[in-house]
């Protein structure tokens, strides 16, 4: 490849993202900008190679692989259009056929998943993530945009099909909200980091009961604020077109707005929940039993009416929550 003739400066001009490859592999190229990458690697002494566990051949091949992968990733970014996900039925743990034949979820649709713990929710999700082709224990097949999916979804590390948001997720990094979002944006090769950060924090504050700013350490956020930030970040920055939500706790966050945000970013939303308000927001729900999908229920008109009632009750509770937070005394409604 002609790459071996380019100087490091030329390489960086052509592929700016290789700076993080050099950094993460602890390759300090200062002073070698006008040399080729081979020349740079050849300058290490035998002792340095041993001490720092440097593998020249691997570094050369990896750089090529990295460039190829990032180019592909940048290409995908322009073409993230996944418009539908189709599940073709397999069987449950007892080998009985599943209670549907084919089920398609379009982008911006929300589908809820119900069923007892251990019934097979993880397996369903794993089938989607692995784009199963009748080669998993359930025998299901997954289609993307109505077609057999590209194997890249299985094998690439930067392009996973499913993003997950679950109850017990925490921030473990010791960073401010700003640094945190920037780090994520850089890993996704976002061009306008500042504007994106602002969009995420605005979206998160729109969801959270209590506002926070870019300078707050992520570890100091309340449960509701953390969830709001995670959801806003996943909606705006995650490359995964499908989002799986494992219950959203009903505290400190506007769940309806959260779902709206995800859907407005063209995500396909799957939501494992037994909370009636959430389950009924979805137009359809998947019922899982004994490792298989036993049926798919469409939310009925009656259920939609129940939802209105639930939302009314929900808003009463949320209102009371805000009043308590503000130090007020609660009063019976309608009484002045």
């Amino acid at each position: 490849m002609t790459m071996s003739k380019l100087t490091i400066r030329e390489l960086i001009d052509k592929y700016p993202f290789i700076v993080s490859y050099l950094e993460d592999n602890k390759l300090d190229i200062t002073g070698f900008e006008d040399k080729t990458f081979d020349d740079y690697l050849n300058h290490f002494s035998g002792e340095e190679i041993e001490n720092w566990a440097i593998d020249k051949e691997r570094l050369k091949e990896d750089l090529l692989a990295y460039i190829r992968q990032m180019k592909e990733f940048l290409g995908i970014k322009d073409d993230t259009s996944i418009s539908s996900l189709t599940i073709i039925a397999g069987h449950d743990k007892s080998k009985n056929p599943e209670g549907f034949e084919e089920f398609t979820i379009n982008k911006s649709e929300i589908v809820s998943i119900v069923g007892p713990t251990g019934s097979g929710k993880s397996r369903l999700l794993a089938d989607i993530e692995w784009t199963a082709q009748k080669d998993t224990p359930t025998g299901r097949a997954i289609l993307i945009n109505g077609e057999k999916p590209d194997m890249k979804w299985r094998f690439s590390s930067n392009n996973k099909l499913v993003a997950q948001l679950s109850q017990n997720m925490n921030f473990v990094m010791d960073l401010t909200v700003k640094e945190f979002i920037e780090l994520h944006a850089q890993s996704r090769l976002v061009e306008d980091v500042e504007e994106t950060s602002q969009r995420i924090i605005d979206a998160a504050n729109n969801l959270a009961g209590e506002k926070f700013d870019l300078e707050t350490p992520v570890t100091a956020l309340s449960g509701g604020q953390s969830r709001a930030l995670m959801i806003a970040d996943t909606a705006i920055l995650s490359s995964s077109p499908i989002v799986l939500i494992d219950e959203i706790e009903n505290a400190g966050i506007d769940r309806k707005k959260a779902l709206k945000l995800l859907v407005s970013k063209d995500k396909i939303v799957l939501m494992a929940t037994h909370d009636p308000t959430l389950a009924l927001i979805a137009d359809k729900r998947i019922v899982i039993k004994n490792g298989g999908i036993s049926k798919i229920i469409e939310t009925s008109q009656e259920e939609k009416e129940i939802l209105v009632e639930l939302e009314r009750m929900d808003s009463i509770i949320q209102g009371m929550r805000s009043e308590l937070r503000a130090g007020k005394q609660l009063q019976v409604r309608g009484k002045k």
Binding site: D24, N25, D55, S157, N158, H184, S238
Partner: protein
């Protein structure tokens, strides 16, 4: 028989991942055995026994566990062949982040966890960088953003590896890993004459030989000094 070498920092979830993967293999009637290498102590063998998996453990004691691995792997392979296993898995101690006991031609899997901090991929040497498959665990307890950042750090130090997220508790992803471990074309009868992917550190100093006293007079062999600068002058 297929051989797969698992390695990874302590407590990253190697044993859980291997156990969940074996569960999936058993459903396909594939017989699996495990040899666990460690330094002073391990009770992982009990976990494998409980799961009905033939297991042997090797404690390296005063020796570096990865050196110990290299000196014993052929005998271990012969043990697996005697048991007529379809797949033999070795699990390393994963102590110093530099070594990797991976062998060329033999599949190497590195297990690393999301909780270990985003700079960890940078800190780990050939154990991560020369693995064929990188399994990232504990993704269920960190945010999606951290998972993505962590995976991108892994892929910048080892872009050719296949990166998988596996949940060691629910086993989500373990079936998928299990499909990658059996390879008809990579069956072996022996590892005699095969090569390690990367040389282990050549440290032979007086302390390797049992010296306990501290001081310049007792330091011999391969000794290196830190550069602390001239500030004290």
């Amino acid at each position: 028989m297929n051989l797969v070498v698992f390695s990874g920092p302590p407590s990253s979830g190697k044993t859980s991942i291997i156990l969940k993967t074996i569960e999936a293999l058993k459903q396909r009637n594939i017989s699996v055995g495990v040899v666990k290498f460690d330094c002073l102590y391990t009770d992982d063998d009990v976990l494998y026994e409980k799961a009905g998996v033939p297991v042997k453990k090797g404690l390296s004691g005063a020796l570096c566990p990865d050196h110990f691995f290299a000196s014993n792997i052929e005998e271990v392979v012969q043990w697996g062949i005697k048991l007529d296993l379809d797949l033999l898995i070795t699990e390393s101690a994963g102590l110093c982040n530099r070594c990797s006991p991976y062998i060329r031609e033999i599949k190497g899997v590195c297990v690393i966890d999301n909780l270990s901090g985003i700079n960890t991929p940078k800190k780990i040497g050939p154990m991560l960088k020369s693995a064929d498959i990188v399994v990232i665990t504990k993704g269920d307890i960190v945010s999606q953003a951290e998972r993505e950042v962590f995976a991108s750090k892994v892929s910048s130090v080892n872009p050719r590896a296949m990166t998988m997220h596996i949940n060691g508790l629910t086993g989500q992803g373990a079936f998928e890993l299990s499909t990658l471990l059996i390879d008809e074309e990579k069956k072996i009868e022996s590892v005699q004459g095969m090569e390690l992917r990367f040389p282990m550190p050549a440290a032979l100093c007086s302390y390797c030989l049992g010296e306990t006293r501290i001081g310049e007079a007792y330091q011999m062999g391969n000794v290196r000094k830190m550069d602390l600068g001239d500030d004290y002058e």
